[in-house]
Symmetry: C2
Amino acid sequence: MVARPGPKRALSEDEVLNAALALLDADGPDGASIRKIAGTLGVSPNAVYTYFSDKSSIEQALVERLLGELNRDAVSRADWREDLETLALDLRRRLTAHPGAVPLLLGGPMNGPEALQLGERLLEVLARAGLPEQAAARASYLIMIYVLGAVALEVADVPQAGALEPEASRIAARRAAMTQVPSSMFPRTAAAVDVMAQWVGTEQYVWGLHRVLDGLAASR
Amino acid sequence: MVARPGPKRALSEDEVLNAALALLDADGPDGASIRKIAGTLGVSPNAVYTYFSDKSSIEQALVERLLGELNRDAVSRADWREDLETLALDLRRRLTAHPGAVPLLLGGPMNGPEALQLGERLLEVLARAGLPEQAAARASYLIMIYVLGAVALEVADVPQAGALEPEASRIAARRAAMTQVPSSMFPRTAAAVDVMAQWVGTEQYVWGLHRVLDGLAASR
DNA sequence: ACCTGAACACCGTTCAAGT
DNA sequence: ACCTGAACACCGTTCAAGT
């Protein structure tokens, strides 16, 4: 990085991303407009273009930062299955903390440095588990589908723009959803919603991950 | 439904949805603006509000219509595993045909009548497979995570706004992606992209589904 | 009941100008 | 180099008015 000369920098890239994330958390997926970001920072909208070339590059940088924080948490190098679980839980925790950012992650390719680093870590764990190259590649893609798919469905079910509530109140929300499913038309679905309402999100998530890992083990 | 009196209807709900889908296909996820829909139909933007109360209800109706078409295809009542595969492949085919509509599906809860009907069908197949109520509920949710997650990642990897190209050229696109992964920094990822590039999308998708089903079978 | 034109409060982005 | 004000081409939505 070269030093930047010029008058003065009123802002920094990080401040822009902070403002964007705060707006995303407060106002939902469309809340982080350039004009609102600028307003939050007390600057004219155009000033933002000094730090990012356009809105999509702000979104990409934000996704990269979230994944970067995830990558800073080293995996414990214990049992590989446990490491995988820790990684998956960490990713879910960080993404559900910022539901408004999830569409940004799902909306574009995972090709930034931090996204690649995350994939690399996953492949390392799988290699440690003894999987040869091809099996590891396929397994990592399947695990990514599960992890991101689970988070996407979880976030999509939350009507609110704000951060996800504690799990207790989410169960109440599911119960409310249940009563909206007419059991005369969709008897199995109504019963299924009832079953799922009594199952805490984290348990569900880990259970699903284990089913995926079992399926991978069975194919060896 | 009551008959509608009044002057004349220049449009219909279906025409609005047709225009919206065409714009989505042509211009990507943000292409279906109310003003462009109206322009396509040769009508003033406000006329659209006669048929739908707001933009989000157009999006919901569009998702419902896509799922409705899926529900019209009856499952063959052959082997349950085969039925599940047919259902999953059909869903993937219909969604990847309209990549711009995928964020709309992933962006909201699956609580419309057609979405519930799809879930009901899934639960019926699983019941036929001999799964008791609770196991079927969990299994159907896991399968939905896989199917929607796989489609989401597939669509997110396509840079273009337009419909997905034939698989042959998609392989070329993946090869191009590979060369962009610096193998010095991400050796395993670079190798994995190479492996995955030689694997056709449909095969990958079915393979992943089978791993999920194996995982479910292993947990019984 | 259904359409139109005008307007309001936004949006991303660009341009010309100031320091 | 970095910021500002003004402008352009959009956007969803509402209001008042016409038939």
